[in-house]
Every structure is written in C-alpha cells, then in structure tokens.
Amino acid sequence: MRPDKTTSMREAIASFVRDGDTVALEGFTHLIPTAAGHEIIRQGRRNLTIVRMTADIVVDQLLAGGCVTKLVSSFVGNSSAGSLGELRRRIEHADPEPLEFEEYSHHGMICRYLAGAQRLPFFPLRSYAGSDLPSVNPAIRTVSSPYSDERIHVVPPVNPDVTIVHAQRADRAGNTQIWGLTGVQAEAVFAAHKAVVVVEEIVDDDVVRSDPNRTVIPAHAVDAVVECPRGAHPSFAQGYYDRDNAFYRAWSGISRDRERLREWMAEWVHGTADHAEYVAKLGEEFWAGLAVGEAMSLPVNYGRRL
C-alpha cells in the first residue's frame, strides 16, 4: 500500500506554507508553479523568503501580494520581455517597503540546491573570481583545495522549509514525471524539508511504472501531490499547452503602473476562488490558442523475464 498524498491546492498551501517560511519555487521558464504562487497570495502569507533562480512574473506577483520580505535569486527580470515593476520599486525605491535581496549566479543557486539536497556544508564552483557579487553577498566564500595551492569559491546549502514545483504528472504517492526541461526541480525538492508537487494530471500507477526512468522525483521525497491543470500559466507545460508570450510582454506594462497592477491582482488572483476559476475566466478560446499538437516519443522496451 503506497500512501495517498493527493490533496487540494488550498489544503497543500495551508498545511505546508507558514508565515515566515523559506519557500523555493522552481521551474526554469518551463513548468513555473504559478497557481501555487497565487494560492499563497490568496491565503495572505507574510514574511516569506522566496528562493527562485529566475525571479519572474510569479515573484513580482508575490511581491505585489505583500507576501515577501526576502528574495534569494540569480536573475530578476521578466524573461527577455521586459521588467518586473513591483520588484524594481521594492529594490530601487524601497517602495512600499524594502526587499532584502541575496543575489547569486545561476550556477551558484544550482550549487546551493545541490549542497542542500546532499546534506553538504558547502558546494564548490568555478564562478565568482573577480566578480563584485561576493562583495555584496558574504555567503559566497572560498575554500583552499587540499590537493594543490588552488582556491575555489563555495556557496552554502539552501534547505527551504518547503519546495513547490510543477510537473506534467505524478501518481498518488508522489512519483513525479517530467519531460522537456527538467531544470533543477529534483534538487530543489530533495533540498527541502517538505515538498509539494503540483501536476497537470494525476495518473494511474501503471502509467508511471511503464517508464521508471521518466520519474524525476521519487515518492519518498514528496509530501503532497496537487492536481491543478494549466497551473503553470503563463509558462508552459511541454506537451500540454504552450507559453503565453503575449502575457509576458503585457506584464511589463501591467506591473510598471502600480494602480493597474493592483487591479490585475484584484481581478485575477484575489478575484478568483482558485485556479480552476482563473482558468475558466481566461476562457476556452484563449486556451485553444495555446493548444499544442502531438509529437509522441517512441516507446522503449524495458523487457519482461520469460
């Protein structure tokens, strides 16, 4: 009997995200856990530390929702589509309040997750030499190699209270399958004390078990499984729906204007009871525009003892 870890988004956020927590949200352009971010905003969480390599729209929204005191990130921008208005106001003008920002490079963030997942006190990487970043981030240090006179930079582990990732599918026990870009999701989950996986669909055990190499996150690392179709919008889910590039382009304008941003949040986050309502509000015609066709993988034979 494998345990059944399925729950609703509301229940998962209520149970696993508390005020003051360190929350990692991962997904590199692909499978961004937006719906989970919106539910955190709806539930009014406060004083969160958000850990996310690419702090993009969902982070700007969490900031606008008043949920975030501190950000740990390696890229703060709206992809290549422009700026994050709320984030820039917070950092450039402490408006409406300051934002503590702990800044790394991408590989630095990856190495923090790797150290966290592997219970290591530090992780070495060949970045930072000559950069000004260590001068504004004292957590970036150096270690001497015991094999030569070489020094190398290191970063400390990150162990979020909870990591939330989005995936294509999982079984009820939490075996999670991702294809396309898999990013740093497995490491972020293993680094966390608790992990919530949001999926496009919960599938039968047999589906997962027909292809165990597709399981990027095994059940024993997962605490809750939430089925939330289209929960990665405006990002994409490979094979399910495409990226909403128009929304990315629109976000710079929305977020630049404080009043427009407030209205957007009121209508689309606070004004929807849950992600199903958000999806319905966008409308079937909208979703048809993001639909994708079929490009099926060829099956492989795992073999059966005769």
């Binding site: 494998r2 219970r119 075996n175 078990r209 399981t215 095994p218 059940a219 024993h220 690392a221 795992y302």
Partner: protein, 251 residues
C-alpha cells in the same frame, strides 16, 4: 521444520515495524523487508543501491540490479542521485549491512582479513556500506553465522565505522550506526552513540552463555533478555507463498 533463513528473515522483518524506507541488499534483507511490507510496515519502500526505488518485481531478484527490479518500478535514479540525494540526503530509515567482522560498537569490516597491504583474504571492500552506515538513521545487520571469527574484539580493518569512531575524529554522522544484529543465536542491540551492543533476546533453546561463548568480546547482557517468539504460521505462509515461493533464498 523452520529453516535458519526463515527464522532470520522473520525476526528481522519484525524489527522494521513502522519504518518507511529501507536500503537493502539481496538475500535475507530483501526477504525481511518484503515480509515486513506485508505485515508490520505496510508503507515500506525498499531502495536498492543500484538506484531502484519502489520496485515491483515479477520474480525474486538475484542481484540488486536485476532487470526484474527495473521493469515496473516507480523510479530509477542515477547513482549520483541515489548516493547523494537519497542516501546522504538522509532519506533512509534503515540500512541493512553484512560484514566479515563486527565489533561491540557495531563497526564493520568488509575489506580484508589480515593487513590491508598484504591481506590473508582480500574481501570485496566497502561498496556503498560505508555510506549506508554514515547516512541511514540506523543499520541492521543480519549474520547467519554467530562465532568468534565474525564477532571480534578488534577488527582487522574498519571499513564502515559506527558513529563512535566518527565522533572520535570530530565528525558527527547522521545516524545511530548499527542498532540491531540478528543472528542464528539471538538479537544484539544498542541505542546509539556511546553504547555497546548488548544481548537483548535469544532464539528459542539458546542460552545466554552460548551467545557469550560465540562472541569474541565480553558481551554485555540486558537485564531482561527475552526469548524470541518463533515465526507464526501467518508469517511463514507469507514468506513461503508470497515472498519467495521458489525458495531462491529460503534454502
């Protein structure tokens, strides 16, 4: 007629009550874990050193990497993920280990008999044993043979050190080290750092004196040594009919 393998499997299975993840090799540990899954630990997941999580084998596996463990498994991980994220990451409740020699602190030797530089017998070495010892919450040892050649006062070589030896070097491992040793004579147990293995239970018909005689150090004995309950009919039926119907390991 109950065979020694059956007895050891059943006794070890009971010790897994309520555990969730077990790191097991092939043979008695797999039998014990599979039986526990059907009895005292319904949520138990066996993780194999090869990278398999949540196996549903069609046949009893012959190695920890048997093809039947892969087909139909819930997940197959790379070795860096298995050793780094799962094991060193602290996701294993109980690890099973074997060894050629064990001492009173649960330190294990699986490297050499004699001197490492010119051994009398070269054994396989650590494999992942050292990592299981350092990173599992606790370690169970199942030894068919309980004699002074295996239960020694001093190891020829310490391959997999318990936490006492690690702490002496100023490094704190995650787990408690060996907490249970199940043998043909009885059960030795220790609670954790600073405690030696003590005799806590004997197999039916075995005396405390016999166990002491078979142990190469001055074995401490618990105040309340119990006699191990013999395998029940239900346990034996599950073991013989469901876990190892072809009697691959229940020889």
């Amino acid at each position: 007629m109950i065979t020694p393998s059956e007895r050891l499997s059943v006794v070890a299975s009971r010790e897994l009550a309520g555990r969730r993840t077990v790191f097991a090799g092939i043979g008695l540990p797999t039998l014990a874990a599979s039986l526990a899954h059907l009895t005292v630990a319904p949520e138990l997941e066996i993780v194999y050193e090869s990278g398999v999580c949540g196996a549903h084998p069609s046949h009893l596996p012959e190695t920890i990497a048997d093809a039947v463990l892969i087909t139909g498994a819930e997940a197959v991980l790379s070795m860096p993920a298995l050793f780094g994220y799962v094991l060193q990451g602290g996701h294993i409740d109980v690890g099973f280990l074997g060894a050629a020699q064990i001492d009173r602190w649960g330190n294990l030797n699986s490297s050499v008999i004699g001197d490492w530089h010119s051994p009398k017998v070269r054994l396989p070495g650590s494999g992942g044993a050292m990592e299981v010892m350092a990173n599992a919450r606790e370690v169970f040892v199942v030894m068919r043979r309980h004699d002074r050649r295996s239960f020694v006062d001093e190891l020829d070589f310490c391959t997999s050190p318990g936490p006492d030896r690690a702490l002496a070097e100023g490094i704190r491992p995650l787990g408690a080290g060996v907490t249970k040793v199940v043998t043909e004579l009885g059960i030795l147990a220790r609670g954790g750092v600073g405690e030696p293995l003590r005799l806590v239970a004997v197999q039916p018909g075995v005396t405390v004196a016999q166990v002491r005689e078979a142990t190469g150090w001055a074995l401490e004995v618990a105040d309340d040594v119990t006699e191990i309950e013999p395998p029940t009919g239900a346990e034996l039926r599950l073991l013989r009919e469901d876990v190892d119907p072809d009697r691959v390991y229940l020889r």
